[in-house]
Amino acid sequence: MPDADRFNPSDLPPLSLDADYWTLRRVDEVSQSYAVRKNVALPHFACTDRGAMATVYAGGGCGYAATGDLSPAGLAAALERAAALAHATARYAIFDSRTLPRPAPRGEYASPSLATPLRSRRDWYELLMTESRSAPADSRIVDWEASLDVLHATHRLFTSEGGDIVQRYRFLFPHMTVTAHADGVTQTRTLYGDRGICQQGGEEILERFAFVGAMRRLADEALELVAAPNCPSGTMDVLLMPDQMILQIHESIGHPLELDRILGDERNFAGQSFVTPDMFGSYRYGSPLLNITFDPTRGEELASYGWDDEGAVAERVHLIRNGILERPLGGATSQQRAGMPGTSNSRADGWNRPPIDRMANLNLEAGDATLDDMVAGIERGVMMETNCSWSIDDSRNKFQFGCERGRLIENGELGAVVKNPNYRGISANFWRSLKRVGDESTVRVLGSPHCGKGEPSQVIRVGHASPACVFTDVAVFGGEE
């Protein structure tokens, strides 16, 4: 089977497509998974996933066909099936594909430090086993695990207009979790959440997050939590650390700004949005401290790339500037449908799903407050870190989020640890209560490898960079008494 680098559309047999435009999107991904749980190596797992998607604009319709058969005949068959679907459904098409752009991008993209080799399989297992064995021998520690996934990907896009781009990636997903149990109470600590550490690059990622040596700290914190009181209830300030901020950004800014949600495509599944097209340019989404950028150009961040899956060139743009909503997250197709500018975010999670509007990297720009400044400015509140629960309505407005660990703040000083810190609010109001934004020293570049959306459904990689932030007058509460 030829790999993506050696693939050439001139190898295709003569096509008799009655088409206005077509693309072939080839995806090759190879991953390795290493994990050690309770000092036992879990079975080694590898995955090789190769396939291609043909997309055809024909007669005003637009169809796709995906295949694992990468022979010239197989690709030609996929193009013909896509063309047949485009023609057959053109009379029902929600938009006229003849009005869509027909890009012809050319170029290459590569993850940072892609050429730097990683350590051997044996060495990865040794590192993970050493971390696992550093968990304390305490009967209250009931489960723990250290793991790493490494994914190499090559994505190639050809267009009938002469486009040919190849994008080579290396992603690392280090993860660590510890669970403690005592007296009927169970508490879990993770290193920046469930796969919150996920970046492009090499072993420097583990150093960036002090992966080595983290198990002991997490275990101590889990033990501290099982003995801690519940988070208090009341209206107060919250200081959200970056590993909770990324969830807050993702759910209550990212998803509501997706243009396909605003256009109604997701109403049967993921939902719609409280944001409407008339809000762009004037709506006050948050306080003047709120600046949100779509930035697929930040090298180490998980969802950086050179072009999206429709061939639009990646560019950093503001979605919210000084609290005012400027533009949605919408790729070229959605932009054409909505008649408004958007972003280069039309993305698919693999060769067998079509591109739709996704977040890529969505970041909250740093402010000027140190962590000490922010704590000092809070008379009564809770610092919350590491998301563990998320729920929001289908318009992305009423939310409730929970964190692994809280610390009381009283009179400008950090106090006792509390368990089960939760808070709830309404997106349309919450961001207006943004009171302080942390400086660069508080920023973490995190993300999620599993953002779900779409029909058929897709799980895609998204990056989020955020400082710590303070919000005022938030409804805070703890767990069941």
Partner: protein, 452 residues
């Protein structure tokens, strides 16, 4: 042009192809080696619709094989996508086995390794040809003429297989469809419907569309906003599906129970649900495969909750080894794939009357635990959710957030379950079309706590 090879192969051809792949693995083994192999393939049409029109029509043909090489107590696995060309796939599998052979010596012996050695072949095949998806689009959009319909048609053949070096072969194929759609009045006010099965049924489509259209008239009434607090509530089976799905996330997992991470851990310490609650993993009554990923054949039923007490759990082979338990056909995630909850005494047609005044909740959305050890969960109402007075629908409700424990919802506050239960085929299309189902009743609650 050569004939395309990666089209929807006839079922018999796909089964023969799978057996050919297994034969390649048999021939690739060296002395002292064993293998297991899991096959998953589908040829699916996906027609996405919005505003009564077609948004994205597509077709996906995919084949995957997960090969596990076992040498003594060392083992490693590799999942690979296949092309459908046997010569090419044979070469790929030989390469995979060679690669695994190089990996295995780097690994420690696995004390929790367990795989099937008793040969238990099974075979199941259901469903016949479906109409072309183009014809189904004509039918669906024709029925919904003039309506704001949004949804997805997913249909086609699904294949699952298992093979091992001991000679076991298992095969499961099903040609199914799942049409999920919503009719919108405006904003977030809508009615959601589903039609799924093994044979396309245009009369059933017409009937379901008529029912949805009738309910849409209630959705179009002026909405009411309810203040947070405790209210009587009736949860329709589709809403119960969301609650059951959350419980399936670690709740019935033996490993999660043994390590105190299950949301139902307190049921091992005496917490209980209402005595009328019975929950079973009823593989024989669902659409899941009769075999799990390591080659163990599933029992037809595994009792999980009886008389409101936790009496069982799902045990994967690995968990069985780790905690000295008996495996009972669960996959590695130990999540139910054919959960069935028993019905009660309430006739579904009497649900509004029994509710009297309170919320009729048609659907819930985006549930999660707000305190997992206490099995306290939160989520939102969605779609057809109404305020009911004296047994009559008065108004659609604006969305509300609930936050309550399972021990109140299906325990102290459970008034009744409906006699009839509804079979709901899993509609998930993440990575592949799911083969799972739930059978659930509706539930009448004396109160449910709403917080936002």
């Amino acid at each position: 042009m050569n004939a395309p090879r990666d089209v929807a192969a006839p079922p018999a051809a796909m089964e023969a192809y799978f057996h050919d792949l297994a034969a390649v693995l048999d021939q690739s083994l060296a002395a002292g080696e064993a293998y297991t192999a899991r096959f998953s393939a589908e040829a699916s049409d996906f027609i996405r619709m919005n505003r009564g029109k077609v948004r994205q029509p597509g077709a996906v043909v995919q084949r995957y094989l997960a090969v596990e090489l076992i040498v003594g107590a060392r083992h490693a696995s590799h999942l690979v996508s296949l092309t459908g060309d046997l010569a090419e796939d044979r070469a790929a599998l030989r390469s995979i086995v060679s690669g695994l052979r190089a990996v295995v010596p780097d690994l420690d012996p696995d004390p929790h390794l367990m795989f099937a050695t008793e040969i238990r072949p099974t075979r199941a095949a259901r469903g016949g040809p479906l109409p072309p998806s183009e014809a189904i689009v004509d039918a669906v959009l024709g029925e919904a003429s003039g309506l704001d319909l949004v949804g997805l048609y997913a249909g086609g053949a699904i294949h699952r297989g298992f093979a091992n070096s001991f000679g076991q072969r298992n095969w499961h194929e099903a040609t199914t469809y799942n049409l999920q759609w919503s009719l919108y009045h405006r904003d977030d006010k809508a009615v959601k419907s589903a039609l799924s099965g093994f044979a396309w049924d245009e009369r059933a489509l017409a009937r379901k569309m008529d029912e949805a259209r009738a309910l849409l008239a209630h959705v179009a009434l002026p909405p009411r906003t309810l203040a947070p607090g405790k209210h009587r509530a009736y949860l329709a089976p589709a809403a119960m599906e969301e609650i059951a799905a959350l419980l399936c996330w670690s709740g019935f997992s033996s490993r999660a129970l043994e390590t105190k991470q299950s949301s139902l851990s307190r049921m091992r310490e005496g917490a209980r649900l209402d005595p009328c609650v019975t929950i079973t993993e009823a593989t024989a009554e669902g659409v899941a495969t009769a075999f799990q990923g390591d080659g163990f054949v599933r029992p037809p039923r595994v009792a999980l909750v009886e008389g409101g007490e936790l009496v069982g759990s799902l045990v994967s082979p690995r968990t069985a080894r780790e905690f000295s338990l008996t495996a009972n056909g669960a996959n590695g995630d130990e999540s139910p794939e054919a959960l069935a909850m028993g019905g009660g005494a309430l006739e579904a047609r009497d649900a509004l009357t029994a509710l009297d005044t309170g919320l009729f909740i048609g659907n819930l959305h985006y549930l999660n635990y707000s305190d997992r050890p206490a099995c306290r969960m939160t989520g939102m109402t969605r779609f057809a959710t109404f305020w009911v007075e004296k047994g009559k629908i008065v108004a659609p409700l604006n969305v509300l957030r609930f936050d309550d424990t399972i021990y109140r919802m299906l325990g102290s506050n459970l008034e009744a379950l409906t006699r009839d239960t509804e079979l709901i085929l899993e509609s998930s299309t993440y990575s592949e079309r799911a083969l799972a189902s739930m059978r659930l009743p509706g539930a009448l609650l004396s109160e449910l706590e709403f917080t936002l």
